[in-house]
Amino acid sequence: MSFERIKEKLNILADAAKYDVSCSSSGSDRTNTNKGLGNAAPAGICHSYTEDGRCISLLKVLLTNHCIFDCAYCVTRKSNDVKRAAFKIQEVVDLTINFYRRNYIEGLFLSSGIFKSPDYTMERLVAVAKKLRLEKSYNGYIHLKSIPGASDELMYEAGLYADRLSVNIEVPTISGLKLLAPDKKYEDFTKPMRKVQHEIVRYKAERRIIKSTPKFAPAGQSTQMIIGATGESDKDIMYSAHHYYTQYQMKRVYYSGYVPVAEDSRLPAIGSQVPMLRENRLYQTDWLLRFYGFGVQEILNNEHPNLDMDVDPKLGWALRNLHLFPIDINRADKGMLARIPGVGMQSVGKIISARRFRKLNWEHLKKIGIALNRAKYFIICDSEQWENHELEPQKIKGMILKNSVGKFRKNYSSQLQLFN
């Protein structure tokens, strides 16, 4: 095989795939069988990091960037004038195996532009996974894209070889979808998702009875939404994320600040800033929903349709609900501890373990590693000196902002910059 040609293709097809933010290689427990190659690390491993700070865990490429669709937000849209290329199935297999053997990657992430028809494309994606698993006895991670509109039979086959499947919903609202991707129907996205979800449920049930049931997408499904392309509110985004978490048992929903890739009157112009802070706040909210026991309507509702930009969502929630505070560190239950701003789940675990031995004071809490500059207004502990808890929300917010630094601070500070 000619390395020069492969290099050229790799550059084009990796470049087009980079806007897919899903990078995780976790959640699969596939082991190495029959002295083959590779296994899955259940916690996932990031082998490198891009210069924008995202992790590189998988070889993320498109099979081809030829596409019959014309979605406004997509870099490989039909009407966009870019170089096109396509990998042969064998080429992807060879690249994956050789990168994997050198410990560059954790596995393969294969997506594709849609050429000819959804089924034709999905068939090729499945063929790559099948070849890796059956011919190369490869047990590493495989993430396949479910092509919107692909048939149930192909989705089933994909699940047999892949660890994770994902469909990117991209636009959080149905009206936005009609505007930006007129060729696609909402049902095209949900149909493969539903099929995979049902198969996972069935696999889990059968697995309980017959231990040797072949694995079906052990790392589950994920999806992705573009942020800031259609003027949707944070509430729209998080409610739709919540919908996918509960209705489709998604493992992850990713949020991707829209990077302008094409000139289009329906979208932000090229060169406009990527909403990175907003993206960050959405991920924080996502974590609060999945790990901290918050309900989505507690954080976002009709009165507060958007997240605060200057403080994190948990602090924002706490400031609106000051009547629940202060919380006694030495008595409160796990759920309440998790709601204190500046206390993460790791610290919650440590506090619960440590307070069995003695009452905790400020010193202990500081050493355990909680962010006292935020937490101190919301807690009491075993100490004579305590903070004044009669403060107004605005005053607490002001004091926290005054005594802390944040990398995005300049984006929302109302104070004029002296030197800039």
Binding site: F3, A14, N32, K35, I45, T50, R101, A354
Partner: protein, 258 residues
């Protein structure tokens, strides 16, 4: 208090556990536990040289394990940190463990317990980094070879990961700092020491010990790495936070940057 002693052991983990056994059995008042070769005599204490005995070490290991699995893991990981004075710190930790009926290892408000768990955490993090940052290069003898220079002595910890992942290829991971490596011969992993007169980091210069194809794949990988950057989101600080510069010289994708 009349016989404060310094125990000298051979530097191995089993040697350390033997020292702990002897300290408990002979009711020694331990002034310090030191590695052979790094020992320093104190003015008012005797020294005793400890010979590693597997059965005694095993008894200490089992004794701690019966107390808690987390504790034995923390002790082993913290020991590999090679932190100055780690032996005495661990000895105090083990004393605490045996003195108490409850599981002291989770008392994070205790200074020693917290320190040990933080050291163990650091070592665990380095272990994970090495599982990620090892870059194999294919030699002409068909061995996948990598050299590393980890902050802590993590080779014993990463052995299992690589053994279960790369079952069908010969591989060798060599720790340049500590001058020993792990070699997998398709059957077992053995400890080897090499006479390396050259560090095979990712220099632009091509060594004739590796296949020509090897450099083609390195180039493909470096190309792939470059095409994953999103220009409008560059964040160099975050990048180096994830991959600290000290690891760069062994990462083939950072060839241009070194």
């Amino acid at each position: 208090m009349d016989n404060a002693k310094i125990l000298i052991y051979d530097g191995s983990f089993n040697g350390f556990l033997t020292s702990v056994f002897i300290a408990f059995e002979e009711k020694v008042y331990v002034a310090d536990i030191q590695r052979n070769g790094q020992a320093q005599n104190a003015l008012f204490s005797d020294t005793e040289i400890i010979f590693t005995q597997m059965d005694k070490a095993k008894r200490v290991w089992n004794g701690i394990q019966n107390k808690s699995n987390t504790a034995i893991k923390n002790i082993y990981f913290a020991f590999l940190s090679e932190y100055k004075g780690i032996e005495l710190l661990l000895y105090r930790y083990i004393q605490k463990l045996f003195a108490s009926q409850v599981s002291v290892h989770s008392d994070y408000s205790d200074t020693i317990v917290l320190k040990i768990s933080q050291l163990a955490k650091n070592v665990g993090r380095e272990k994970h980094r090495m599982e990620a940052f090892v870059r194999f290069q294919l030699t002409k003898d068909a061995i996948y070879f990598a050299n590393i220079e980890p902050d802590f002595n993590v080779l014993p910890l990463i052995s299992k990961h690589f053994r279960s992942r790369y079952v069908d290829q010969h591989w060798l991971i060599y720790d340049i700092k500590r001058k020993y490596g792990l070699y997998y011969n398709l059957q077992t992993v053995e400890i080897v020491s090499l006479d390396l007169n050259e560090v095979y980091a990712n220099s632009i210069h091509k060594s004739d010990r590796f296949l020509g194809e090897e450099y083609s794949y390195q180039e493909l990988w470096a190309n792939y790495f470059r095409s994953t950057h999103i220009k409008s989101r560059i964040n160099k600080k975050l990048h180096t936070q994830h991959i600290p510069k000290r690891y760069w010289k062994y990462l083939s994708e950072k060839k241009q940057a070194v």
